[in-house]
Symmetry: C2
Subunit: 154 residues, 2 copies
């Protein structure tokens, strides 16, 4: 007997999709997508990050990230810069406006987390967080974000 309602991958996927959809709708008021918000969030602690690292941090494929950063650059939220050491790499840097927007969204994001964790004790919340980090690491080993042998197989 198989119970979908107790199956961890299903619960992860559906809970994740639900909260993402709902938060996306709220972010629309700020004129950015959920993915753009993740980019901003990743940049809040850093002065600048390379596209590749940004992709790993946000779990966004670089090819997708390119277009997201295109949009954010057009909005004046980030700036691209070529690295002096390695001219292939591109550094993404938040603008003052980008930083300000990111910081303004943080409390809203935290409110969403507290909706997801409504009725949880502090202990339970911490427990869930640490269990999720471990699941995430397990899934990370499985592949994902493209392990790049990008050449055609044949």
């Amino acid at each position: 007997m198989f119970r979908l309602a107790e199956y961890v991958p299903y619960l992860l996927n559906r809970a994740g999709a639900r909260i993402a959809g709902s938060f996306s709708a709220e972010l629309a008021a700020h004129g950015i997508s959920l993915q753009a918000w993740r980019v901003l969030a990743a940049l809040l602690d850093a002065t600048a990050l390379r596209m590749g690292d940004l992709g790993r941090l946000t779990s966004i494929d670089v090819s997708t990230l390119t277009r997201i950063v295109d949009g954010m650059e057009a909005q004046g939220l980030v700036k691209r810069r070529r690295g002096p050491d390695d001219a292939r790499s591109v550094w993404v840097e938040p603008s003052a406006r980008g930083r300000a927007l990111g910081r303004r969204i943080v409390p809203e994001a935290l409110r969403y987390e507290s909706i997801a964790l409504e009725g949880f004790s502090a202990d339970e919340a911490a427990q869930l967080r640490s269990l999720l980090v471990r699941v995430f690491a397990n899934m990370d080993r499985l592949g994902g974000v493209r392990a790049r042998p990008r050449r055609k197989a044949g």
Copy 2:
């Protein structure tokens, strides 16, 4: 300071997406999508379910579900039937082939769950499951799967 790597909605969404993507690729060998598998899984315990209930059980919007069931019907995995009591409702019933395929996939699905939970004790796994069920319920209250005032707003 905001740490994306410890933010529950992010972890949920990314872990969920990762495992879904990976499992989808494996399901392709059986000729069905992840969503179709969920439909099969939901039907394994039932003789038949209405479209609406099926949508709620699998968290798939009915409009999406229609097309998924179209495909499954063409593959001979399920059969649609009109309800005698209420001629508006449509009952979806798994075929023998559909049931067999569903049952064949169950162990693979469980293997994926155990990949996600690698290194977890039985206690920790149970804990995560129950915490996720609660998160899922919290998100459910938030809206989702369309609360239908489907009429145009203006």
